[in-house]
Amino acid sequence: MYIMIVGGGRLGYHLTQALLDEGHEILLVEKDPTICDTINSQLGSICLRGDGCEAATLEQAGTSRADMLIAVTGDDEDNLVACQVAKHKFKVPRTIARVRNPRNEYIFKKLGVDVTVSSTTIILEQIEHEVPSHALTHLLAIEDRGVEIVEIRIPDDASTVGKEIKELPLPAEARLLLTIRQDEKPFVPKAETTLAAKDQIIAAVPLEAEETFRAAMLGS
């Protein structure tokens, strides 16, 4: 696959390296000449110096034959514009933008970016995961299907401890996929499985049913 990456910061650098390792053809576009030189000396001549938001640069980079453009600069507005130029002018089939302000995700989607990845949201969720008061963690959102994969941890004092799963008022479309219990091999929970304190349950839940799911699992 021919993949273009805009922005040669830390994220762009490691992304380039990872995708090169997978055998893709990569072109990295970066404004700063020093960064360009460093990348070219370390990863081979794959970095083009230029502004990835400019049609002229993208033209020179052969964007019209790119299968994908990934914009990972540190500025949301630059990532938006790079994706828009790729999409509208060069008809790149898939555009992915890094978003720093999570509130921009909705705007980017509305303005035609195919996929947004909010680095801030991901870091927040990772940290929340480590904070004991947050029982529910988002693991993966499959937005075009309206489903998310979540992990819920059953606190010691939850009223659902000792109850069977079939007793819980779970939303109809929610599916419990895996129970991870201390000192046991992970197993697929059944209707008769009894919840124990500290259980970690992985589930697929419709986006809109998350609150009902949380309340059913925690008994609150």
């Binding site: 938001c53 400019e54 500025d75 949301d76 630059d78 938006l80 828009q84 002018k89 705007i107 303005l111």
Partner: protein, 132 residues
């Protein structure tokens, strides 16, 4: 007419002042409070501090019932993004943005934006001066 001007630099402040004198309802928006010093002492409009790419700030500025949105910050891409938010998310009837880089003309036409490039305009003015 209710107008929001994002970016209270020299151009933004001057435009805000002119429109205010013409009797329009003007809100000047900038993320740096220091830039509001450029507004004249008798400015009758509103000066609002905040980032114009933030929907809450735009709502606070009254974008939902604005007749026009002008964006003249220093960043071309910021201007392009703000103009699109105003046009496609809040459906403001008249949106104009400044884009310094004339190479991006293709882009704003493609995105359905009305943009003015001071670089092009000024270069042409200078040529007329020189060639008479």
């Amino acid at each position: 007419m209710k107008v929001i001007i994002m970016g209270c630099g020299r151009v933004g402040a001057q435009l805000a002042s002119l429109l205010d004198k013409d009797g329009h309802q003007v809100t000047a928006l900038d993320s740096d409070p220091y830039s509001f010093r450029r507004l004249p002492a008798d400015f009758g409009g509103e000066a609002l501090l905040g980032n114009g790419l933030d929907e809450d700030i735009l709502k606070k500025a009254g974008i939902e019932n604005a007749d026009a949105f002008v964006v003249v910050t220093q960043g071309d891409n910021r201007n392009v993004m703000a103009a699109q938010i105003a046009k496609h998310i809040f459906n403001v009837p008249k949106v104009v943005c400044r884009i310094y880089d004339p190479l991006r003309r293709d882009l704003y036409a493609m995105l359905g934006l009305e943009a003015i490039s001071p670089t092009t305009v000024f270069a042409q003015l200078l040529r007329e001066k020189l060639e008479g």
